[in-house]
């Protein structure tokens, strides 16, 4: 219940935050919403020596358009994602996904940056970001860079972030108008991580799949991109036989943990069911 001690810092700018993290060393952690980190600290599973609170850095919050992309500041809260009219119009799948993350109080504090950056396989946004072909803008002691979400996750809690680097924004190419989308999440109750979840974004043309991207949540120690399944579906009419083959291909890349949500074999099958349902819903939303 009680965390260990740490030094607390609340910088006013990204530069200050990065400088602080560099000087405080590898046991310092950035703090955004804190709803992954603080519970771990209370169980003493994480014991950072210092916390750098990003909450006072105004430039890290907000949703804006940059040409063909939407750029979301890393400390934008999940509630902020849901409330954004810009996102509701351009990226409705993001709002749908945000609504099934945790509960109202956690959504008020949890951030998009926190959800994508710590490499927790249970988080919902990473697979979605991969499905959307998003990029993470990162600032560190060596400067700024962009990392594709597809290249970001290396293992459970292992990411491409180097020491002292902080995710500052997420850049998402906006899908074409009329795209189909769905995030289908199976969970035991509100607030639970996914037993299995599937994100689907597709474009239909003439009744056929012109393009489709699939992300799978919490059925591996990283988010999974079901490229083989997507390839099978591309060009098809989403007929039953093709969907069956795609679902089999998606199931084949899963390696879920066995836990209270079910044994691995069940969770793999549920990934398949979620994909099936996400495809069906995405198809109804797409304009042909």
């Amino acid at each position: 219940m009680i965390p260990g001690t740490f030094a607390y810092h609340r910088p006013a700018s990204v530069a200050e935050a990065v400088a602080l993290l560099a000087s405080l060393g590898e046991d310092a952690r950035p703090l955004a919403g804190g709803h992954s980190l603080i519970p771990m600290m209370k169980l003493r599973l994480a014991a950072p020596s210092a916390l750098v609170d990003l909450g006072a850095i105004a430039e890290l919050r907000g949703v804006r358009r940059e040409g063909a992309d939407v750029v979301i500041g890393a400390t934008t809260t999940t509630a902020g994602l849901i409330a954004s009219a810009e996102l509701a119009a351009a990226l409705p799948i993001l709002r749908e996904t945000a609504l099934v993350i945790a509960d109202p109080q956690v959504r008020a504090r949890g951030t998009i940056g926190g959800n994508v950056a710590n490499g927790d396989p249970g988080n919902d946004l990473p697979a979605l970001m991969q499905c959307l072909g998003a990029f993470y803008r990162v600032v560190g002691p060596a400067g700024s860079r962009e990392i594709a979400a597809r290249d970001f996750y290396q293992g459970a809690y292992f990411t491409a972030l180097q020491a002292g680097e902080v995710v500052t924004a997420i850049r998402i190419p906006v899908p074409p108008v009329g795209h189909g989308w769905a995030y289908e999440k199976l969970k035991r109750k509100i607030g639970d991580y996914a037993t299995a979840a599937a994100a689907v974004v597709l474009v239909l043309a003439g009744g056929r799949v012109a393009s489709v991207a699939i992300g799978l949540t919490n059925v591996g120690d990283t988010p999974l991109v079901a490229d083989a399944a997507a390839k099978i579906l591309t060009g098809s009419t989403l007929d039953a036989a093709t969907v069956d083959r795609a679902v089999a291909a998606a199931e084949a890349i899963t390696a879920p943990a066995s836990d209270g949500r079910g044994p691995a074999a069940y969770r793999t099958k549920m990934a398949g069911v979620m994909l099936r349902r996400a495809l069906a819903r995405a198809a109804t939303r797409a304009t042909h």
């Binding site: 009680i2 260990g4 069940y266």
Partner: protein, 805 residues
């Protein structure tokens, strides 16, 4: 209507807010304003905080405990281990079940998260830091986690302290991990019934280990005054007087110098009955340090170490005729008690009242054997609205009857109607030794079937099943029927005691000169609304408005001795004491009234809120006037004042019953079950406050839903406890929780002064079988006989796959 018009009888009754009214709760005024008074709200000058160091292993010898680093942390005042408690003989303590349990690990640990050391510091943050610095050296021992292997010849020895003891508190022990064998009924007649049975079923029906998880965990503040030699102990105690007596016996401090106070309690559900190591260590720490010591357990500690509920494996057999008349019931239970037998049962009942397992049915013969065993798990077992193992018994018989119905090709409701104890048979002597007080089961069942449109539901189900077989739908419909009879109100002194103290309960009422009153009982509400409902009983009995009656519980200095609140006993036992005490006051009031009215006491009669002269209703004295007169104008020969106390030894238990029907829609592709409808008809006899009864039913059904559909505390093969945090332990939110439809019939208890039976636990007792029967019923047409609980999605899906769904 104006001020001059006298109020009508209806208006006077309404003003009393007595029995039967949906009286708003008195407690709510403070709770809705954040002015509750819970244990952790207490702050005393100089107060210290205690925190436990707990075992990493399920079974291990303790080679050493190094507390030096912890003691060196600034702010740490003491670190207690078994070695510190041993000179006081407090390193072990007796349990309510006739066993002993370690307060702090003595040489070995027997379950993961067992208490090893108690750190005491001036700040709870410091205590937490210091607890991390206690170094324990373990030598791991082979753990025993599978109750079915507990009595194997090569099973590990758990209780070395019982070496060589071939008898325990409940008779002979068959094995070093065996606790007791409890047998009841007629073995020969039952075996004969099975030999002659035309049809019989046999099934292993398991009720998984769960935990009630009240929102407030267990906690206490112990404050020993060295100068006066007095101990004050505030705590989450459902039975504060029992705690006081136990504290006196354990500590040697005389009982009149121990003040136990249970303030507001944030839910109990049976977990707050027993005495836990945290309480004992806090008391010792207070004595040793001379300061008050507070202990507040966190949630993981609560779920993994502080009691548990159920863990019964029930091999169930029912014999019947081809026509569906039951002829015998035979049950063997393997009861997993964990490392110590700390079951909070009345002392002569090692398996509680499990012998209610004949349920609502007229079994001519039955036999039941319960074998309790030790395992490397937390101790406890009796909690979670179980009425002393009645939840287990009801699940056993209600699942059994459904399995029998399936084998006979009969509708489950029809089978029940065919075998119900009939109204004329009450009081009914069950084959396992209980005398059921009253019941009208057929009426309740028929009302339930009619109100839910049962016949139409079955027709819809048949259509759905055909569509499923044709591949047109992947949804299955399940209809769960449960008709429970439960046994509450422990209990008559002839067979019920807690550590030798009979299970009566008590009430004291004192009327003030201005007609208001104060009353105290030996029970202790943890949310049941006693401050509201008890006043309603008195209001109707004596004719003083409930709003003018102050109800107090929980302070052992002022409340008369009682055995506390659990097992739905408050209404049956304390409720009876309240009525009895009230009637003593009413009898004296009658004499005072007659004296004031200058007539013989037989010539006055009670009328709602007054006594009036028979035949001359305009000549009356109100209770307010009588109260005043009690303090200045009593009849000669009577003492002044108007008060009474009653200690009520119930002549029998009470037997509430109910008919529950659950409709579920199950997604065969995911195993997810959605409750479409849940109808609960309860008969708890006389209904004191329908608003509160409905609330109890909603709450108990929600617990039942959680249990049936996903709750479990499990252990892996080396004894690591799983699911012991709110991340995994299935507590439904408002989104998952179904809508509840409540209904009722009223069959008063003939032996209870106001005919009331109690209702708090019924919804958990009846709810779990209703949910489980619904899930099982959904797959019956595919050949399913029994799917074990909990019915979480992956298990339902796995069962569906096996059945070819």
């Amino acid at each position: 209507m104006n001020e001059m018009t006298p109020p009508t009888a209806a208006e006077r009754t309404e003003k009393l807010q007595g029995m039967g009214c949906r009286r708003k709760r008195v407690e709510d005024v403070r709770f809705t304003q954040g002015r509750g008074n819970y244990v952790d709200d207490l702050k005393l000058p100089g107060m210290l905080y205690g925190d436990f160091v707990r075992s990493s292993y399920a079974h291990a010898r303790i080679k050493s405990i190094d507390t030096s680093k912890a003691k060196a942390v600034p702010g740490v005042v003491a670190v207690l281990t078994a070695a510190d408690l041993a000179p006081l003989k407090l390193h072990w303590m007796p349990t309510l079940a006739g066993d002993v349990q370690m307060v702090l690990a003595d040489g070995k640990v027997l379950f993961q998260n067992q208490e090893i050391a108690f750190v005491v510091a001036n700040d709870r943050y410091v205590a937490a830091d210091a607890a991390e610095l206690v170094e324990v050296e373990y030598e791991e021992l082979a753990p025993l986690v599978d109750a079915f292997r507990a009595m194997d010849a090569d099973a590990p020895v758990l209780r070395e302290d019982l070496a060589g003891k071939t008898t325990g508190a409940h008779g002979a022990r068959k094995h070093h991990n065996h606790i007791f064998e409890w047998a009841v009924g007629d073995r020969e007649a039952t075996d004969l019934a099975f030999r002659n049975a035309e049809v019989s079923i046999k099934e292993l029906i398991s009720y998984q280990r769960v935990h009630p998880a009240p929102l407030e965990t267990c906690q206490c503040v112990a404050s020993f005054d060295k100068i006066k030699g007095e101990l004050t102990l505030w705590g989450t105690f459902q039975a504060p007087h029992v705690v006081r007596t136990v504290a006196a016996i354990l500590s040697g401090i005389p009982e009149h110098k121990i003040h136990v106070i249970a303030p507001d309690i944030g839910g109990g559900f049976g977990t707050k009955v027993g005495v836990y190591p945290g309480y004992v260590c806090s008391v010792v720490a207070s004595i040793v340090t001379g300061k008050p010591v507070k202990w507040v357990e966190d949630r993981i500690e609560n779920l993994s170490a502080t009691s548990f509920a159920r863990d019964y494996h029930m091999t169930t057999e029912i014999a019947a005729t081809k026509a569906g008349k039951v002829t015998g019931l035979r049950v063997h239970v393997l009861a997993d008690h964990g490392a110590f037998d700390a079951c909070a049962d009345p002392s002569k009942w090692p398996a509680g009242f499990f012998n209610i397992v004949t349920g609502s049915y007229d079994f001519p013969t039955a036999h039941c054997v319960v074998d309790g065993v030790y395992t490397n798990k937390a101790p406890g077992g009796v909690a979670y609205r179980c009425s002393f193992r009645v939840t287990e018994a009801a699940y056993c018989i209600e699942r059994g009857m459904d399995i029998l119905a399936q084998k006979l090709g009969m509708d489950p409701a029809e089978l029940r109607l065919k075998n119900f104890i009939r109204r004329e048979q009450f009081p009914y002597q069950s084959a396992l030794g209980w005398e059921y007080d009253s019941g009208d089961y057929a009426t309740a069942m028929r009302q339930a079937l009619e109100k839910t449109g049962y016949a139409a539901l079955r027709a819809e189900q048949r259509t759905q099943q055909d569509a499923f077989k044709r591949g047109e739908t992947r949804e299955l419909m399940g209809i769960g029927v449960a008709f429970f009879t439960e046994i509450v109100g422990a209990g008559p002194s002839k067979n019920c005691d807690i550590l030798g103290i009979a299970m009566f309960d008590s009430c004291e009422i004192r009327i003030h000169p201005t007609g208001a009153a104060i009353t105290r009982m030996g029970t202790k509400s943890q949310g049941q609304g006693h401050e509201t409902t008890y006043a309603q009983i008195i209001a109707t009995e004596i004719g003083i408005p409930a709003d003018d009656i102050m109800v107090e519980e929980g302070n052992t200095d002022t409340a008369p001795y009682g055995l506390g609140t659990y097992g739905s006993r408050s209404t049956p036992v304390a409720g009876a004491a309240i009525a009895t005490a009230a009637r003593k006051i009413k009898a004296k009031a009658q004499m005072i009234a007659a004296y004031l009215l200058e007539v013989h006491h037989d010539d006055v009669e009670f009328d709602i809120d007054r006594f009036r002269v028979k035949g001359l209703p305009e000549k009356f004295k109100t209770m307010k006037e009588i109260a005043w007169a009690a303090y200045n104008a009593v009849p000669p020969g009577l003492e002044p004042g108007l008060e009474a106390v009653s200690y009520y030894d119930p002549p029998n238990m009470t037997y509430p019953f109910g008919a529950y029907i659950c409709v579920m829609d199950i997604d065969a592709d995911t195993g997810v079950a959605k409750t479409r409808k849940f109808y609960a008809l309860d008969d708890c006899g006389t209904r004191i406050n329908p608003l509160i009864i409905e609330g109890q039913v909603h709450g108990g059904l929600t617990e039942a839903f959680g249990i049936a559909m996903g709750q479990e505390i499990t252990y892996d093969e080396i004894g690591n406890v799983k699911g012991a945090s709110f991340m995994d332990y299935f507590l439904p939110t408002a989104v998952e929780t179904p809508h509840w439809e409540t209904d009722f019939t009223v069959t008063p208890s003939p032996h209870h002064p106001i005919g009331a039976k109690g209702v708090g636990e019924s919804p958990n007792v009846g709810g779990v079988p209703a949910f489980s029967n619904a899930v099982n019923d959904a797959f019956a047409f595919l050949g399913n006989t029994h799917i074990q609980m909990p019915h979480d999605a992956w298990r339902v899906w796995t069962a569906a796959q096996k059945l070819g769904a």
